[in-house]
Symmetry: C2
Amino acid sequence: MKIALAQLNYHVGNFESNTAKIISYIHQAEKQGADLIVFAELCVCGYPSRDFLEFNEYIALCEEAARKIAAECHQIACIIGLPTVNNNTEGKDLNNSAYFIEQGQVKAIVNKALLPNYDIFDEYRYFEPSTVFKCIDFKGHRIALTICEDLWNTIENPLYITRPMDMLINEQPDVMINIAASPFAYNHDEERINILKDNASRYQLPLFYVNHVGAQTELIFDGGSLVFDKNGVLIDELPYFQESVAYYQLESSSDLKPLQKPTISQKKEGDIAQIHQALILGIRDYFDKSGFKTATLGLSGGIDSAVVCALAAEALGPENVMAVLLPSRFSSDHSIKDAEGLVKNLGCKSELIPISDITGAFESTLQPQFKNLPFNIAEENIQSRSRAVVLMALCNKFGYILLNTSNKSEAAVGYGTLYGDMCGGISVIGDVYKTQVFELAKYLNREREIIPVNTIVKPPSAELRPNQKDTDSLPEYDILDPILTQYIEHRCSPAEIIKMGYDDHTVRRVLRLVNQAEHKRYQTPPILRVSPKAFGMGRRMPIVGKYLS
Amino acid sequence: MKIALAQLNYHVGNFESNTAKIISYIHQAEKQGADLIVFAELCVCGYPSRDFLEFNEYIALCEEAARKIAAECHQIACIIGLPTVNNNTEGKDLNNSAYFIEQGQVKAIVNKALLPNYDIFDEYRYFEPSTVFKCIDFKGHRIALTICEDLWNTIENPLYITRPMDMLINEQPDVMINIAASPFAYNHDEERINILKDNASRYQLPLFYVNHVGAQTELIFDGGSLVFDKNGVLIDELPYFQESVAYYQLESSSDLKPLQKPTISQKKEGDIAQIHQALILGIRDYFDKSGFKTATLGLSGGIDSAVVCALAAEALGPENVMAVLLPSRFSSDHSIKDAEGLVKNLGCKSELIPISDITGAFESTLQPQFKNLPFNIAEENIQSRSRAVVLMALCNKFGYILLNTSNKSEAAVGYGTLYGDMCGGISVIGDVYKTQVFELAKYLNREREIIPVNTIVKPPSAELRPNQKDTDSLPEYDILDPILTQYIEHRCSPAEIIKMGYDDHTVRRVLRLVNQAEHKRYQTPPILRVSPKAFGMGRRMPIVGKYLS
């Protein structure tokens, strides 16, 4: 049989566009003579639908879309993913299902058994796990069809006590198909390949794996759908960060051939190159799917806003980026010069809006209360917040979306002003540590100088008081970032981190800063997720808690 | 045997204070000659610990606290709740456990089987469900010990396929004990009583139920621990919204007596009275547990800020409330007069800080960009955001916490300014619809006029442009609120709501406003939860989604 894999970009809740896209790919594959086209997990509604799934009407719209799709399957069969009603009285009301559609009819329904409920996943919130395992017969083949996590139980210390393929293998299938919704993290592609490879060789079956591509707010799906032969040899790897369709001829479990030149990434790109691609896709889809066109941001002359501006110009086109320079009396000359240099290099739009009259008005208005109290964090934050008010006014007047430019290091330790530089519709580099931001800047300059070298080499400063440096308040970033990584990504204790050779006082201070900043992070924009542990929906912390704070 | 129930206020992650409190109640009950004292679910670490549970050190600290507690159990046994390590390789790494401690030793461990994972609950994120069910023998009694949700499976269409008590009953226990962490919602006490009553009579066993009391950021635990006899008759109901200990003599399943005058609420207070108590506890615990003393808020002369100010004065003392009047050129005279009247009635502190110089500075600074474009939402929001910057500056200078004063109706439809009136450390009435805010105002005035009558009777207005009224943009609140309730609390579809008699156009417009405001709600403060479906951790919506938007 001839199998098509469709790695597509869906839009959560947009049944009209998702259904039209699925149907158009069915028609295309049918013309190519494919017997079967495979779409991704929950493709009908997009992933993650989150609490939309609690609305009966939403589930009914999924079923209606599936009927429309089925009606288009004439000479071709298809596999689609959608939520369905669990007809058992006991247990949750829904299943995470795959429909196998043949000759216009739903011929088989497979429900997901292993429901991820960690990090950004909440599937057990909605779905009842399947306890029934049955293969699907189609054109002389017997297909073991599973859904994403169902194959993720071959690791040490697995999260689940069952293993669906151990049941399905008893029916002697000759091929495995797995439909998935597996979001990007810079280390996740390797892990994914290893687990799926292990499944193919463990069960001695070829494996077709279809992922989503595209961003849904903070979650970025990277595609990279995979095909393995029965020995676990990687036969094909679809492109990352773009839509793609590929065809394969499967005669028997031992006879599998790609019908186009395979696109296996022979040499993996580095983390930073992948993060770059992910962020471009994340920005672009945020604007596309929310119906906005133009981004704005405050350009300080520092590296964070420079990197975000360059990414936005690449994602949206420089003509759709409005960079705003908002100098205060503490801004250094080089800041304005560096920001202007970047604007020139990118060719984006810009405005210069000095904020001293505004901060002056706040200070004189507050004089009766502040009296002669010394300049402190209050006046520093007034500057940052005044900039935010100006930027949001431009958004309100001209229909821009404000990009947040905070990096993960400062988001971690609370080195930012709530309602000031922590504002924005989406945070572009809030999952990128400062040391990675430097690497990203160099990567962006790989062909020509886009980000002025002075922006990269000068010591980071918030410029909210004279001669301020980040290192006045924080450890050097090459000390800070590894400590944060151990705590946030690896969830190490202070004692464990200190044992790695970091200074006792520094470690305890950093971890206290992280835990005391939960109230700030709670109110920040969604953050494009590129690491295995991003702030936001994947990291849920008490605010008024007392651990390490 | 003599049983003590301890309904206490814990603090998430504060092992020192939780352990000290548990031990002091053990000593007290021992002095009273109790054989057994029962504490609530996960009392050792507080509830909910959220992702603190992913830190091995956190779990080790729980175990260490349990050892300290065990060492204090000499003549008395106790039941405490804590997370423990699941020693099976397969499945999640933790259990939600109860320790039965006798003579300084952990004599039995019970693990929770039914793990709530809906609304605000995420227990399946952390815990492996128990599949082992065993009673505990103690002093001639056989105790069926379960944890909270374990008893919540007697309803129609249950969420789980197992029922722990159906297994435990086979061992012929003579008493049930259930330790819980069941947060307040204005309709939840009735539901809780009915389910537990049904369990007592179904299994023909007396039932002791111990709940948490106190707030953990947005979640408010209301106490109201319960005792039923074997016929399902309510024997005692501990006080709501306060710590309490009570003693009972249990001779056999048919012989159970309270050892003090029972405190059953013979006549239930209305929803508004309960919400009032919940909000007072919520404010007080937020400040106590985060170590702050003084609240500030912007007082507009309108009903929302008036109600929040009155609640804060009651919770914290009027001397710890700084009300700030921030008139603009659009503020009416009666607004200032009404706000001043409230300040006088409450005896709280106040400042008058006119914002026209500040908004003037924004407008003149933005003149080169805004040119002669007409006054619109941009200038409206500048006012709201200028107020937020002033209030946050006072917080930064004087160590106040800003209270958010948005109500649930406006939070729902996005009738508020992000980084403006949507700011604050905690949202006090963000789960209270506008029509309920009016009721709350009348309730606050039940003994004397606290909130000026004019504040209650005048038409609501944001006063961001001349003669603005809420009804310029929104339906009347007595139309809006029922539509919102049907959509948010009951998750009805537009068609279902229209069928109830609401105008087609109005319903679709309101629901579109709700779904288009997700990006705003994502960045708002935690909201004290008083309804079965509050914005925040219990309602998780896509931002860039397309359903009904």
